[in-house]
């Protein structure tokens, strides 16, 4: 990661990323209208989502040209959110199970 006080990148790179984001969006749209269901659909949507997010953060926001001392404290805390997500999946399943058990008739 080089110093990035005033980065200069070729125009071509920006258009390439733009095109890639376009294509990835089209792909995720295609997944939605395709008959794919369940795991295949979710994993493809997540894959395209993460690729798009990565391109935006890395190239458009110039994060790969920033120093580690800035990039790491920005990216590391986001991992905590995955843990929160896991907890909430467990919690959600539990609440649904209790609702079905106790309120099934109403």
């Amino acid at each position: 990661m080089a110093d990035a006080s005033s980065p200069q990148h070729p125009l071509r790179m920006y258009f390439l990323i733009w095109g890639a984001l376009f294509v990835l969006s089209v792909f995720s749209y295609m997944v939605d209208i395709s008959p794919l269901e369940g795991f295949a659909k979710w994993s493809l949507i997540t894959l395209f989502m993460l690729l798009k997010a990565g391109l935006i953060v890395a190239i458009f926001m110039h994060l790969i040209w920033e120093r580690w001392s800035l990039a790491v404290p920005l990216l590391l805390p986001v991992g905590v959110l995955l843990f929160l997500m896991l907890l909430m999946i467990i919690e959600g399943d539990y609440i649904k199970a209790s609702r079905l058990m106790f309120f099934a008739d109403s």
Partner: protein, 219 residues
């Protein structure tokens, strides 16, 4: 990395403080949006009624054909395009090309405005269809609350971004960034890093939309 942090004066070397602060703000904003999306996920898991099918709820009839998620797809492409023009504005800002930077900033802001306009249209259509934060005719009641909260918060971000884009565009146009002229409310001198800082915010708005698009509309 360790030597950067262990140095006495500055942890983020070579990074203008405005940019570092914007990044830290964006990190906190990431947590806000992530909490909304995770709350939406949890509520959706726990809902006993069937969750409304986003593809058909957000379908539009164009030329007599019902196209799923038509407006959402257009909004996605508009936001991506505005992100690209923003990135180019930052590039030309650093080349001190005032005219190109100004035009690209205005294009970005106008694309952002059209995005907000479409969102207003989408809200109006859904409200007309009977979607409310407390219920809707398509399925689980929690759908409306999650939709209005998440897209509303994102739309607010876009609107604020558009306002800042116009402010920075005006500053670029009159040469405030080149001459280091202080702003209206602040004694800080203008500089081209401001274009990058507002650009970071704008890309973040696009980034959040990527997640909303995947989790809320496609999932």
């Amino acid at each position: 990395m360790v030597s950067d942090w262990a140095s006495d004066q500055q942890a983020f070397k070579g990074v203008p403080w405005g940019k570092a602060m914007m990044w830290i703000f964006l990190l906190s904003d990431t947590f806000i949006f992530a909490c909304f999306l995770i709350a939406y996920m949890k509520v959706r898991i726990a809902a006993t009624d069937a969750w409304p099918d986003a593809s058909s709820v957000f379908a539009l009839t164009a030329f007599g054909v019902k196209v799923p998620l038509l407006l959402i797809a257009i909004m996605t492409f508009i936001l991506i395009t505005s992100s690209a023009t923003m990135a180019l504005a930052v590039k030309y800002g650093y080349q001190k090309d005032r005219n190109k930077t100004f035009i690209l900033l205005v294009v970005t802001a106008v694309l952002g405005l059209s995005f907000v306009g479409m969102q207003v249209f989408e809200w109006a259509k859904l409200i007309e269809d009977g979607v409310r934060p407390w219920g809707n005719p398509f399925g689980a009641e929690q759908f409306g609350a999650a939709f209005f909260l998440i897209t509303g918060f994102h739309g607010t971000h876009v609107t604020i971004g558009v306002i800042f884009l116009f402010i920075i565009a005006a500053k670029v146009k009159r040469g405030s960034l080149e001459n280091g002229r202080p702003g209206f409310l602040t004694g800080r001198k203008g500089r081209y890093e401001m274009v990058e800082t507002v650009g970071l915010y704008w890309h973040f708005v696009d980034l959040v939309w990527v997640f909303i698009f995947a989790f809320f509309y496609l999932w």
